[in-house]
Amino acid sequence: MENQVSRRNFLNRLGVTVGAAAAATAVPATYFAGPRPAHAAIKVKGNIPDKPFKTGHITFLTGPANLLGEPGRKGHLLAAEEINAEGGFLGKRKIETIVADEAAGTDANVKELRRMKLSEKIDLFTGVISSGNTPALGPVAEELGVLTMFNDGCTDFLFDKAVPKPKYVFRVTNIQSADGVTSAVGAAKAWPQAKKVGSIQPDYSYGRNVHEHFMLAFQKLVPGAASVSEAWPKLGTTDFTPHITKLLSDKPDALICGLWGGDYVAFYKQALRYGLFDKMKVATTLAFGGQPHAIGKDHPEGVLAGAHANYFFTHPAKGRWPINDSFVERYYKRWNEYPSFESDGAYVSLYLLKAAIEKANLLVGGWPEDDVIISLLEGMGMDTPAGYLYIRPDNHQGYKDTVIGMTKNDPKYDFPIWDPKSIITIPIRDITAPPNWPKPGTSHNESTAAANWLKTTWLT
Amino acid sequence: MNLLETINLKKYFGETHAVDNVSLTIAEREFVSLVGPNGAGKTTLVNVVSALFRSDSGKILFKGDDITHTSVTERVKAGIARSFQIVNLFDDLTAFDNVTLAIFSRQGKTGNPATLAHLDHEVSAEADAVLAQFNLTSKRKEHARDLAQGERKLLDVALAYALKPKLLFLDEPTSGVSTRDKGQIMDTIASVVRGEGITAVIIEHDMDVVFKYSDRIVVMQQGAILAQGTPDAIRNNDQVAMILLGTSGPDAFTRKD
């Protein structure tokens, strides 16, 4: 009992808010993501060439991960269309996008990025879903000196190790370690008695990151919790039955699942048939990460459904945060579906850049050099559909408060959404390493700076 | 001195006694013809002695050494070479390269990946000499597959010859060659073999050839040696004549045990 009390204290100290409150921004932002209000005309200083602004976008066009890639691409295109409707960046430079398939593999992506920059002469590189790919593409982007806004592929590893001192590379969605921690907080709050934890993760860096950070946080929140079963299906697996049987045989109380995209859809459908959801509580990091309609009504309720600790379109709820209301509306009108966190990330990326370009133009006039744009992106804040987003200057990583909720069916939708009462919001500063925290390989050898920060400071 | 000696050599294929208790000796510098009807076991005997097949039992002595259990390569190194009834060449290589290969192998140079073959003038000269001996000089640069049947037959023998063997088996060197070219081929082969003092065992069915070139004739039937002797002795052996001519009626099928 004592544990539980102190745990509650922990939760309070973490600043977790429950329910539909949320979206209270810490800092009022000057910029917001979305079309300019009708009355605010574009003020442009100097001469702007009307050369198109070429953008390279690599994302999953095929395969199970397409469930994440597709909304990202759609978010990007929506923003580009809106900006182009105003005449483009600074009213002059229309955005042109060339797209390539991330499913071609890491090596092919590296080659394609080089081609985009060297042969197609792109001005901006964006997209990328897999956290296996950003650590490969980030350094290449730095080598090539191409301004880059990753909208996902959010592994800590990118700015912890692969590009420790980024210049050209930025990333908009939340940092990966927050996924595992957010799910752990949600799970600890919902199922404080669960001590035996099972884990099913895709067999690559994302899965390992989720597993590590979830266990780290969960064991701090639920003393005595231990991992009793691990399953590591290959990314893109279609047959999860041996893994499901393995999990069933080890009888955990709760399961942490980091599968995503088509893999998660296949997994939950197969798990249903074996009654896995009746045998254990299930927490996920990315169940709600794909297109919302990809999850069927057959999905069980009461599953902790992660959205990469970022965004789900029903939160902030209608009427509470006009930026989101309007985004969802415009997105639905354009694509006839609801946006996912990837849509938000890709959409916001372009608006962030737009804001930085406009600001830079006011400062220096004409079309600003990359260096100026970069210096303005660093430390920039913006109100986005998901709430307030802040680009930290030390590592070029975007941060926003994390959210997670329980699945519930709602007659208004053909798919489950978050139960509004169950949604929790965690201030990002409470679950991730602060600026300039020592990186792995400096004063410690943890896998991420966040892991080291959690271990040494969290809840003590 | 006996160059080759087989002692009670046996090779059965199921019910067929292809080589049945053959004890044969070949003396140095002898030119021996192996004759007999189809299926008499001549080629099988050569196959066993040249290690293409393992014998079922018996012994093979070469220069007095027991070589029964040695491999093809070891026998080649010891000095046993052969040609083939159905031409067996390196079809994608030129006639010249076919021969140089044999010379390189003989000189133990085939393991060398670091020198250029065509710059080894000594070998090239020898190869050209061999080609000349077999009247193939004009075909030097032709691929083996493009040669005429008679030329292929000659090249097959030339390859074996280029190994400078002590003992050379020639398995029907004129089969499949038109009558026109036959005599010329045999003359070429015989002159080379005689000239170099090589011991030769030839499987041949043209009795004119056999009588003309052989020192000794060995007649085989049903896997066993039926008779052997000088050409004259064989010519006058009625039993042999009957068998070889196949004129003996049903008796031709009588197994000689």
Partner: protein, 291 residues
Amino acid sequence: MDILIIQILNSIFYACILFLIAAGLSLIYGVMRIINLAHGSLYALGAYVTAWAIGTFAAGAPLWVSFLLLPAGAVVVAAVGAAIEPTLLRPLYNRPEEYQLLITFALLLILEDAMHFLFGGTPLTAGAVIDSMGTMPIMNLRYPVYNLLVIAIGIAAAVFLWAFIYRTKFGVILRATSQNMRMASALGLNVKRVYVQAFALGCFMAGLGGAVVVPAQAAVLGMGIEALILAFVVVVIGGLGSLEGALIGALIVSFVRTAGIQFFPEIELAVLYLIAAVVLLVRPTGLSGRA
């Protein structure tokens, strides 16, 4: 205990699928001496076609419609096979086997993208079929009834194929052609036609594998390449060109895989390839192949 039963059932289920793919691969090799690298892609094609057919025609229709459409994948793949053999493979029978291997590799590339083009990049499912059949209890756990159906289909296919090959006129023709193609033609068999039929039958088996697996899993791009390599392991272990071999191999691979995921997940796949390599080394004709 219940877990053990489920794991055994799952292994058998998986073995059935592998058998269907591997038997086709083995059959084609046995008759035509061609290693069909596109075989996995044909399996994937079967899965796609069935999923697409069920998704398109059976939506909202009664369950039996879905079952009627289940074999669609197998039939279409057999037809594709019947078209491929005379056009792409036949010109190569007199060429070195490298070319036969290469053309099937080309076929693999083409089929993978053709499926991408036809069915799109997102996985296709036919989960309604398996869900409508419900689950059955196995002590404390549940097990999908459909899986039992697949096992039944797998066993039936094995028995049927065996009977087909060893008890029918066509089977005699097929075996005769595989043993001595020239003699078969001298006895009046149209070897070209037998080849088309054999190839189509092999493809049918692969397509059937895909068709029955798709309700339980999903049709995704790349599933064929993974399946091919496992089917390869199966036929190598069992013996190229041997039907019994395909069965033995499928069981070994499937049980080793289940055990591997449970007990030694790190080296599960490596173990399978190592078994294949060792079998090849010690007994290149496989466990039940003849020399």
